[in-house]
Each structure stands twice: as C-alpha cells, then as structure tokens.
Amino acid sequence: MQFAQISDLVEVDTATLASLDPAALPGTWLNSNPDTTGIARLIISEHDGALSLRVYAVGPDGLIEWDAAEVKVFSSGPAVRMAAGFTSLHDFGFAETRLQGMIMKGLLVLAQFHHFKDDSQRVDYFVREYFALEHWRN
C-alpha cells in the first residue's frame, strides 16, 4: 500500500468495505457572523446517498443563491467511515470558488478560495467563516 505519510497507512478490510456515512453533514448551516459579506448559510441535502449543496451568499440587495453543487465527502482518517468534512466547486464564469468545510466540535469551519477569471484585475483571495447546524433542541 502506497503512502506519503504514516497516517495514510491503514489496514482496510475490502470484504466489509462501506461507503462514508454522511450523517454529520446534511442540514442548514448558519454563519456565526451576522455581519458577514460572504456566505450567510449553507443547505446540504442527501438524496440516494449523494450530497448536494446550496449556498446563500450576502449581496448588496439581499441573499444570492448559487447554483447547486455536488459535494465530495471526507472523513477524519483513512480507516474512518464517518463524514467530517467536504469540498465543492462553484464556477460562476467570471470567477470560481472552491469550498473546503471541516466539522470541529459541531462547528463547520468553511475555507473559501475565490479565483477571478475575468479582466477586473481583482486579486484571488481566501477567507474562513464559521457555521453552526440549525437545530431545535432547547
């Protein structure tokens, strides 16, 4: 088995191989910062084992809904079958945004990479924001 760091090196029982359980991800995730100029909330949905992501970003005149995107799921280790994060890619034509989400103690830490493809001369940039999963427990 090839590895690039010892943490890659695990025994995998291919006879009992299961897909990643995405249970930690679906739901509505709310930005902890009410004054954000970035993403206000995320909605992750599961259908037939696949996840999709809807993003609602803050615009000058209200929320802007991005086109739905597929989600690629990651665990916290190569032998772990529970989801702990995701990535997604959003192509707007004039720009491309890559999202990398990581769940830590119930908090979703979302890194955003914005790459401009137009001639606006804007610099590419990075930002992180924090999201909590909306729930109804008091």
Binding site: Q2, Q5, I6, I39, F92, F113, S120, V123, D124, Y125
Partner: protein, 142 residues
C-alpha cells in the same frame, strides 16, 4: 463608462481586492522553514515555503516508516487573506500535491506566528481507504 463588476457575494466587491499589493501582503510571515509542533506526528513533519517573484514554492516532508518522505514541490500564486485584522493579514497558499496514488488539496496560512496546514486527501488507487482531512500546526525554528 464604468465597467460592470460581476459578483456572487458582497466580498467580491471589497475594494482591497483591486489593490495589487494585497496579493503579497506580509508574504515574509509565510516564507521560511517550519517544523510540526507535534514531534511525533504521523503526518507532515516539515514545510519549507520560498518565494520566486509572484510565485511561492511549497515543499513538505511526510513522516515515513523509516525515513521522511519528500513530496513533490508545488508552485502556487498567493491568495489575499482578508479575514484577519489589518495588522495580522498575511497571504494564504492553496497548493495541491499530486502524489500519484493520492492527491492532497491543502491550504496554508499563518495565525499569530503559527503556520496551519489543512489537508484534504483523496485516494486514487482503489485501496478502499477513506478520503480524509487533517490539520497540523507548525512553528518556525530559530
């Protein structure tokens, strides 16, 4: 006539993005040799970041069973990092390492003198291993 500026969120319109100096702001906070704060790490032991013009070269060394494993170097452009307070702002990097059997998408930033590397590792070898994420912290040796 003022050109139209496309956006998908208000931060796309941040005036700082039109300042070319933003791209390389405090680049020296990221460059140099960094060692993992965890001497027993099973992940990345060491990271070296150098700057060549507007490019940054990132070399990492993974913990091996016997000897360290040098990953192929990645060349990237810097990303402006607008999230910190103005005095703390430094560039961020998002190198992707193609290791053949695995791809590691990473991002690297400095927070109060600590280099943070977050990795999203995707296996491409059909080994059945789960794609996984990891985060490690590095300090600058004297």
């Amino acid at each position: 006539m003022t050109p139209t500026i496309d956006f998908k969120q208000s931060s796309h319109l941040d005036p700082a993005l039109s300042d070319p100096a933003t791209r390389t702001l405090n680049a020296d906070k990221v460059t140099g040799r960094w060692l993992n704060t965890n001497r027993d790490t099973a992940g990345i032991m060491e990271c070296v970041v150098t700057q060549e013009g507007e490019d940054f070269i990132v070399k990492v060394r993974g913990a091996g069973a016997d000897d360290p494993i040098d990953w192929p170097a990645a060349r990237v452009k810097a990303l402006a990092n607008l999230e910190e307070e103005a005095g703390q702002r430094a560039v961020a990097l998002a190198p992707v390492f193609d290791l053949g059997f695995m791809t590691a998408e990473t991002y690297i930033r400095v927070n109060k003198g600590v280099l943070v590397i977050v990795l999203f590792n995707t296996f491409r070898d059909g080994s059945g291993r789960s794609n996984y994420l990891n985060r490690e912290f590095f300090y600058r040796p004297e």
